[in-house]
Subunit: 430 residues, 2 copies
Amino acid sequence: MTASLKTVDSTSSVSGLMQDIGRRARKAARALGLAPALQKEKALFAMAKAIRATSREILAANEDDVTEARAAGVTGSFLDRLTLDRKRVAAMAEGLEVVAELKDPVGEVISKWKRPNGMIIERVRTPIGVIGVIYESRPNVTADAGALCLKAGNAAILRGGSDSHRSSRAIHAAMVEGLRGARLPEDSIQLVPVRDRAAVGEMLSGLGGNIDVIVPRGGKSLVARVQEEARVPVFAHLEGICHVYIDKAAKPAMARDIVLNAKMRRTGVCGAAETLLIDIAADENIYKPAIQALLDAGCEVRGEDAVRAVDPRVRPASADDFGKEFLDAIIAVRFVEGVEGAMAHIARYGSQHTDAIVTQDKQAAARFLNEVDSAIVLHNASTQFADGGEFGFGAEIGIATGRMHARGPVGVEQLTSFKYRVRGSGQTRP
Amino acid sequence: MTASLKTVDSTSSVSGLMQDIGRRARKAARALGLAPALQKEKALFAMAKAIRATSREILAANEDDVTEARAAGVTGSFLDRLTLDRKRVAAMAEGLEVVAELKDPVGEVISKWKRPNGMIIERVRTPIGVIGVIYESRPNVTADAGALCLKAGNAAILRGGSDSHRSSRAIHAAMVEGLRGARLPEDSIQLVPVRDRAAVGEMLSGLGGNIDVIVPRGGKSLVARVQEEARVPVFAHLEGICHVYIDKAAKPAMARDIVLNAKMRRTGVCGAAETLLIDIAADENIYKPAIQALLDAGCEVRGEDAVRAVDPRVRPASADDFGKEFLDAIIAVRFVEGVEGAMAHIARYGSQHTDAIVTQDKQAAARFLNEVDSAIVLHNASTQFADGGEFGFGAEIGIATGRMHARGPVGVEQLTSFKYRVRGSGQTRP
């Protein structure tokens, strides 16, 4: 399957096309908001089935994308993210089934209370409306993001990376087949059919009030552009500059295991630790195993003189190394003056994403957990737990570091809004 | 007391001044976020005391404001809202005490769960950060809004109407005295000291990331400007076009009482009904008492021919009368085809604020409550209950019709964000 993209003559016709997509999404969202849980579940299972049934077409489309990307000189992790194989397509279908089986958040009564005049007030979850997802060349996001939006009763407008447009179109076709099978509006999940960058600009402007929130999925430059230009709320994090702090009251083996996992389990994820802070009052036997384990695992450790004294393999750190998201097997290490010093460092260099303390001192832990102003703060656990799945949300569309509405892992529940339902028996206000 | 306003030479110095206010607010917010409940409570009580102790100065400042406004030809409700008297000043102090006694939302564990690996995850309320409040010449907002922000651990930047600047300054002085008394940063509640409109523009741009949310308090044109220009989230409603729908299964006396209250209790509030919808299948005796009660109470009733047939005092309605916020003793009335017709009308003309159904038919009520997409939907109760106090929130900073973060009455709880606190015992991610 080689999908052809619409060619659009001018910016104004991209604008017209996008405005139309917005209107259709809003209309679909109204229907979706009232769709019973079972109907959405059915659609998601039907999508999984369609993905499996068309996996040959999906893989063929992907091969064309990969060939084109290779010809353009694309290599490395970008090419890896773009490339699908049988296993990845199967995982995509399974992912849809996982979302299908999640609890439907819409209609859930979040809280309920009775007023002295007898009125009963309920706070009830409702969909947000229309969610715009802007992503790079990771074709599986077409399935993942579309499914999560749908589960929460939202219409989705998906704008995938242009390098993966054939793959995304093939996956999207399967999603639409699932929608059709469950008699949900086909416009519930729309894929932007043009490659023009102007389409992104249109989405960031909110499509005349027809996009309620934007979720960017991709590298820092994409997120930065979205955060800078969007006229609608954005669920995202720009950087994950995550810290692990080893307190003087840490257990050496626990500190070692947590630091090693936080940095090295996967170095390219946003929850990977980028800086290790060590209590200056700690004995060397508390933190030395952590530093040596990192070095032994092939991690480049960069530190100031005091850190270099611990092991000759430690390289000198520059001032730039602190507050830097390496996304690689590199870590910056610094001694700080206890919890206070660690918190001051994090306040200055952190990105309000995820930070951890390792200590047996409950008071130190309590201070850290209360005072560090990050979406996720952990005590005696790895920063790599920063993930919707690990939180028990079933799946996530991303991690947010903003303070409004959604923060931390953004799962199905975070893709909802709410309203108040009031039941009276003739009450009037005095 | 005649407060003098700083005169600022150029737009660039307004900008510099505002940026500085933003930085100081952020710094205060960091301290406030960690302030114990008792300290904030103490500050609020001290503010109430200071308001009472300086009521003479507040009233003198207000007299100067009123004199100037009168000289400029200001009259009517604007002048009324601007004018303070002993009773209003006392009410302001009492309002501060009410907020002081509210439950502190910061630190509240919203939910808590254990993961299979033993980690305990808590979702905990935190302050949002810095809240910008832009209001018109209602001096009491200086006290109300400042207090609510503080209670939720937020720093506030208040920009009051220029006609009330002397009154606001005098009230603000008392607030600062309260902060000082409780040893909280004086910058926790700042009043913008310049009258330039450019200050508002600076706030709407977010002061370099130092304003997290803007709350406009005032008429439609202020809210429209804020919604149009703000680069940060806004908690607001543009209009309250509230509907009451009398179903064929309504009790006549209940319908009459609710409609009369919804329209006439106070006509200038956002929760006042602006349109009455009547089930075309209803007997005349079900809705006639409501229409007559409105007319007898001096309300102008505007309706199409079928409505005019009910009572000769009904005036003809124009198409413009539907979807119009009269904020006056005027109501538009229309017959609709049952719940379905009422919901279609509300979807087209409503403002997603507050809408009510009057019926004894549980199914009709359930449909209306589930399907009407407004922040507040009521069954057998007056739309005038759209109010944080009436919801049991203690106080509100306003009502929001957006779908993100805060919706409906915005009380202390809605002025908070959250974070995740994770407690482990050495867990690493597989």
